[in-house]
Amino acid sequence: MITIKTLTKRYGDAVVVDDFAMEVATGESIALWGPNGAGKTTVIRCLLGLVSYDGEITVAGLDARKRGKAVRSLIGYVPQELSFYDEMVVQDLLDYSAGLRGIGTDRVDEVVDQIGLGDHQKKLVRELSGGLKQRLGLATALLADPPILLLDEPTSNLDASARDAAIRLLENLRHEGRTLVVTSHHIEEVGMLVDRVIAMDSGRTVTECAPYDLAEELGIRAWLHLITDADAATRAAAVLNSAGFNARQNSKGVLVEVSAQQKGKAVAALHSAGIEIEDLEVWR
């Protein structure tokens, strides 16, 4: 569905995407993962024809450079935040976006129901919470029922509850058979959203793997702070160290180094040993 070959993007002397390649099959969901400045958003912008680039991008066999309109008609794009139409009424924004896609108001109502914006149609965009703005962005992207969705950091700026709702919504879209390209720097959420991850850094592909292998592939570690009383902490440190973890006791409990995507293993080891913990924190 999407083929990118030798994509390079420069801003002056700075190379922000460097000889990048990507192939996404129809119905596949992939994540572009990496730290801020890795080049993820730039790849999305190249796909949409928003910026010039060197290299080749085709979407459903169409050259993104020569057939920009046709390519964009296949794509629903969800920006990081819809903060720029603050003074517009939600319904007006949806009608405007639908109009530009040649879609009638029936479809707008359908999408509003699907996304759960029914109670917010008459509000100004600026009156929406971060989660609702995200939903509005998704609603505009879904208006044309596009086969491809590009989601730029879909859960950034969301609180835990809104993030959970957004992830559930995206999971549903994924199961509808759409092709999804998601950018993210949250390692935990890519596992829930996609089939495959392309890790990027400094504009280049670092690795490409299944989402749950990402932390191991890149050696991404996290520290779990398991809070418990002093006796339990002593025993917990011993149990964890003997199970192969790097653990040490501190004044509040025990600190244990874990793979960023396998934090539960340390907790499970303590549970098996009959050690209860009161609370836990993730340190990076």
Partner: protein, 287 residues
């Protein structure tokens, strides 16, 4: 393969252009600053009309012509700044906020986006000019003044043309500026150049150089604000004194062709900056 041009020119769909124009118009007339401009223009126009009407004549004008004459100076200061500012903020502002990227993520071409934004602002400027001249016209009529409505309407239209020409220049600035603040700064400088520095600069140049007066006055006539002023004042057929030295020189040199020459100058200022801005926007590497 290396390519810099982002988009190959695709045929514009006028339906899409008008949808964007409608949204831009709605956004512009919904903004507070636009109404601040309109209120300032309308308020000053009303004051000028009230001051002008009791006097017997202004440079020989009567009726609506008198009102129109009193508005020319106001228009040549306020309208260019309004058009330039609106244009300067249009593209740079939307790029800065991310709105342009959202707009261009739709299946539309850059050509459609550009002309949609342009036409929306053209309509907004029409409303502003219409409000100013409309209120001034109503005030004039309610005071029992009649006659001279033709030149009054003509000057209102030419004011709009001046505003749209300035909009094109503002949008051209906007396609080059990275930030809306920078675009606005350049627009203010251009406004000062056209309205004040242009004339003062020419006077200074005239005094300091041996450039022929005909060349200096010729350059003055290329200033769109000066072209507007002369178009407006010649339409009123009043005293030649009001035309100033460049105007008198133009009347002497061009005679009956002056109207056509001024019309060509205004049309060029209307079309060329907008077309260059469009080409620049379509070929722009990054939005």
């Amino acid at each position: 393969m290396t390519t810099m041009a982002v988009e190959v020119l695709e045929r514009a769909d006028m339906g899409t252009v008008f949808k964007i124009a409608r949204k831009e118009l709605k956004g512009t007339i919904g903004s507070r600053w636009f109404w601040m401009w309109v209120v300032a223009f309308v308020g000053l126009a009303a004051v000028l009309v009230m001051i002008a009407l009791p006097s017997s004549s202004i440079n020989g004008h009567a009726g609506f012509g008198r009102t129109a004459a009193s508005l020319v100076t106001l228009v040549q200061i306020i309208i260019p700044l309004m058009g330039l500012a609106l244009g300067a903020l249009s593209i740079a502002g939307q790029r800065e906020s991310g709105a342009m990227r959202f707009l261009m993520s739709h299946p539309i071409s850059r050509t459609e986006a550009f002309w949609g934004i342009y036409l929306g602002h053209v309509a907004a400027l029409g409303i502003a000019a219409g409000a100013g001249f409309g209120i001034a016209g109503v005030l004039t009529a309610t005071r029992g003044v009649s006659g001279g409505t033709g030149p009054f309407v003509w000057i209102a239209l030419v004011s709009w043309v001046l505003a749209v020409a300035m909009l094109g220049i503002g949008m051209l600035i906007s396609t080059y500026a990275a930030r809306s603040g920078a675009a606005l700064g350049i627009a203010v400088f251009v406004w000062l150049f056209f309205v004040f520095i242009g004339d003062l600069g020419l006077m200074g140049t005239s005094a300091a150089t041996s450039m022929p007066v005909s060349v200096l006055f010729g350059i003055a006539l290329l200033n769109p604000v000066e072209a507007f002023r002369l178009t407006a004042l010649t339409a009123l057929s009043g005293s030649l004194d009001a035309l100033g030295p460049a105007g008198i020189f133009a009347v002497d040199t061009l005679g009956d062709s002056l109207g056509i020459a001024l019309f060509i100058v205004l049309v060029l200022w209307l079309a060329v900056p907008a077309l260059v801005a469009w080409r620049r926007f379509v070929g722009k590497a990054d939005l």
